[in-house]
């Protein structure tokens, strides 16, 4: 209304007597209008849509009156131009621009009505506007029209950009969602109160309910996660919101054997073995202007179903155990019959045939060792290698073992030195059968790998640590320095070492190490290449009360 008022005032007072003042007034009004527009356009940061509409109305008003001024009537074809910016604006700004169109129309009609039906204001047909006034008016109108259209186009393109961005975000979200949903792994996001924020399709399928039913629920009402030991018995229920990554990864403790996690669903009673990967949501609330529920601190949990893999793993172990058990009977028979043949048929066979028999016997013995070793490894890895610890007279035990192998050393022309220590050695805490295995293995190696010279066995009591250290030194070829560190590894063989009689399996020392470590002892080797090797291992005496208690707790110790 103000603008219409201004327009009317400018144009309705062109009395000849006040011609000069009228002109000045026109200039003032045009300047004020221009200043206002420029001020709002450039000084004020940005026009609102309302300002844009008002300025448009002003432009059209001025435009209408200018045309009237120049042509002296409202019949000019120039008027048709008034619709151009109106239409453009309407197209660009959509619904809001209807106001402009309507306003433009109203002004147009009012002006027309005024000029045609109120002829007592004749000044309009006799314009006294100066040329520079006209030029300023034209420039002003042109500028505002130009600026308006530019603004409109800018907004239009901004609007398009915004739409594009929205579309891009939507696509990204869709893609992320597609990735999440198509993952075979189960993905969960929890807040600190155990409420489920996100659950993917794989998880929903496991629970047999839709994702919508899962989201927002407390996970306790849907499933539990339990830590299990190597045979699948639950040890404890874990809290997904508090368990640390370290606790999750530290799942191979010596005490309980390899542990796993078991997911148990409550609605359909499914049981799955899973691995867990946990990451904390670390969104800084201060920096993000996202809705609160999206940034509540919590964690993302990825669960992978490994039930099948575990079954395969178990089958592999069971297969090895089973194969070993099944192989034993025929091998026992082979060795038995060979030994019977050797005992009874030696004299009736040629030396060559006797050699065949010896070789068959050696091979059968190797096979037995290999089989027993494979079985031991399988049990060690299954965490099922149990000790039967007893108070043992160590010197007596070593004496027996030495005696058993003495013949083999003599056969190979080696001197076997074993002198029981003079000092009194307390009883030790060992599984005699298992430790005998270790001792036999080391002593057999020494006998097999030593070409000439001697093997010395010594036993020493170290009261400070309450341990007994047993050492077996040989004058064999020694072990190359680079092999020393790998000696106790599974399937490691020192290459290039001359072997006679017995071929190693590469498992003996690995098993020995595991057995000694189960006894909480140590095993080590010192060797000078070309001079000889000393293997040593320690076992604890019965005075190590702490260890005794530990064995008792592990149910390994029987008095």
């Amino acid at each position: 209304m103000l603008i219409i008022g201004i327009g009317l005032f400018v144009n309705l007072s062109p009395q000849p007597v006040v011609q000069q003042s009228q002109t000045i007034l026109n200039i003032v009004i045009l300047t004020v209008t221009a200043y206002t527009i420029v001020y709002y356009r450039f000084v004020a940061p940005r026009w609102s849509t309302a300002e844009l509409i008002l300025s448009s109305i002003l432009v059209y008003t001025v435009f209408v009156f200018l045309v009237a001024h120049f042509t002296g009537s409202l019949q000019s074809v120039l008027f048709s131009l008034v619709f151009v910016p109106i239409l453009i604006t309407a197209l660009m700004l959509g619904v809001q621009a209807l106001l402009i169109v309507v306003a433009g129309e109203v002004i147009w009609l009012v002006t027309e009505f005024y000029f045609y039906f109120l002829p007592f204001h004749p000044g309009i047909s006799d314009p006294h506007i100066l040329l520079w006034e006209k030029l300023i008016a034209i420039l002003l109108v042109s500028f505002v029209a130009y600026d308006n259209s530019r603004e409109i186009f800018t907004r239009q393109s901004e609007h398009e950009l915004l739409e594009q961005e929205k579309e891009t975000i939507r696509l990204l979200q869709e893609r992320e969602d597609a990735i999440l949903q198509s993952m075979d792994d189960m993905v969960l996001s929890l807040d600190t109160n155990k409420n489920i924020l996100i659950a993917n399709d794989s998880f929903a399928k496991t629970l047999d309910i839709s994702q919508n039913e899962i989201i927002g629920k407390n996970y306790d009402s849907l499933f539990t996660i339990k830590k299990t030991n190597s045979v699948g018995d639950a040890i404890e229920t874990i809290d997904l919101t508090t368990i640390t990554t370290k606790e999750v990864e530290d799942n191979d403790s010596k005490e309980t054997g390899p542990t796993n996690f078991r997911l148990q669903t409550l609605n359909n009673d499914k049981q799955l073995f899973v691995t867990l990967a946990i990451s904390n949501l670390t969104v800084d609330l201060k920096d993000k202007e996202t809705p609160n529920d999206m940034v509540a601190p919590g964690r993302v949990i990825v669960l992978r179903d490994i039930t099948e893999e575990l079954q395969l793993e178990r089958m592999k172990i069971d297969f090895v155990s089973m194969a070993a058990h099944e192989l034993r009977t025929p091998i026992t028979a082979i060795r038995g019959y060979l030994s019977a043949l050797k005992e009874e048929a030696t004299t009736s066979l040629t030396p060559e045939h006797n050699k065949f028999l010896d070789r068959a016997d050696i091979a059968a013995n190797q096979l037995t060792t290999l089989m027993e070793n494979l079985l031991s490894v399988s049990r060690i890895e299954k965490g099922a290698f149990n000790l039967d610890v007893r108070k043992t007279d160590w010197v007596h035990l070593i004496g027996q073992r030495v005696e058993e192998l003495a013949n083999r050393a003599i056969e190979r022309g080696l001197q076997l030195n074993w002198e029981p220590p003079k000092e009194n050695i307390p009883e030790v805490l060992v599984d005699p059968l298992r430790v005998s295995e270790v001792f036999n293995n080391i002593l057999s190696n020494a006998i097999n790998y030593t070409q000439k010279g001697s093997i010395t066995i010594s036993v020493k009591y170290e009261p400070a640590e309450e341990i007994v250290v047993t050492s077996i030194s040989d004058t064999g070829p020694g072990i190359p320095r680079e092999a020393l560190n790998h000696l106790f590894e599974k399937f490691f063989r020192v290459s290039g070492v001359l072997e006679q009689g017995s071929k190693g399996t590469g498992l003996g020392l690995y098993i020995s190490k595991e057995i000694i470590e189960l006894h909480k002892g140590k095993i080590w080797v010192e060797s000078t290449f070309g001079e000889g090797t000393t293997f040593s291992f320690s076992v604890s005496t019965i005075h190590n009360l702490k260890l005794r208690k530990q064995f008792e707790q592990e149910n390994a110790f029987r008095v």
């Binding site: 019959y337 030994s339 049990r379 043992t392």
Partner: protein, 133 residues
């Protein structure tokens, strides 16, 4: 008077081998080829010692041992299990039921088995730490 041994073992080869070695050592060996036959023969004619395999058809070694030790007529028979390494659980159970000892088949040649049994009859004790758990 030679001692009588009841050998309960399902594998023919091993059985023959043990029978032969034990007979060479002067024992009278009676055989049973499965657990059920083992129980019947022990009841029919009480042996001086019983060698008992574990994995057998019809009745396994543990079941046989339970029946032998649960019957007044046979519970006095010393029973030695013929076992393999890695059967600690079974061995422990067997000792709880009343087994006298065990022999690791794969570790011992028949002559070692005979030597252990000789030693048992001579001393009345279970010879080495390998025989008792």
């Amino acid at each position: 008077m030679p001692k009588r041994i009841l050998l309960v073992e399902d594998d023919l080869f091993i059985r023959d081998l043990y029978v032969r070695t034990l007979e060479q050592n002067g024992y009278i060996v009676e055989i049973a080829i499965d657990g059920e036959e083992g129980v019947n023969k022990a009841l029919a004619n009480t042996p001086d010692i019983m060698l008992l395999d574990i994995m057998m058809p019809k009745k396994n070694g543990i079941e046989v041992l339970k029946e032998i030790k649960g019957n007044d007529k046979t519970k006095g028979i010393p029973v030695f299990l013929l076992t393999n390494l890695g059967q600690e659980g079974i061995i422990k159970e067997a000792f709880n039921i009343g087994a006298s000892g065990y022999l690791l088949k794969a570790r011992m040649l028949p002559r070692d088995v005979a030597a252990h049994i000789n030693s048992y009859f001579e001393t009345g004790k279970v010879p080495s730490e390998l025989m008792q758990a």
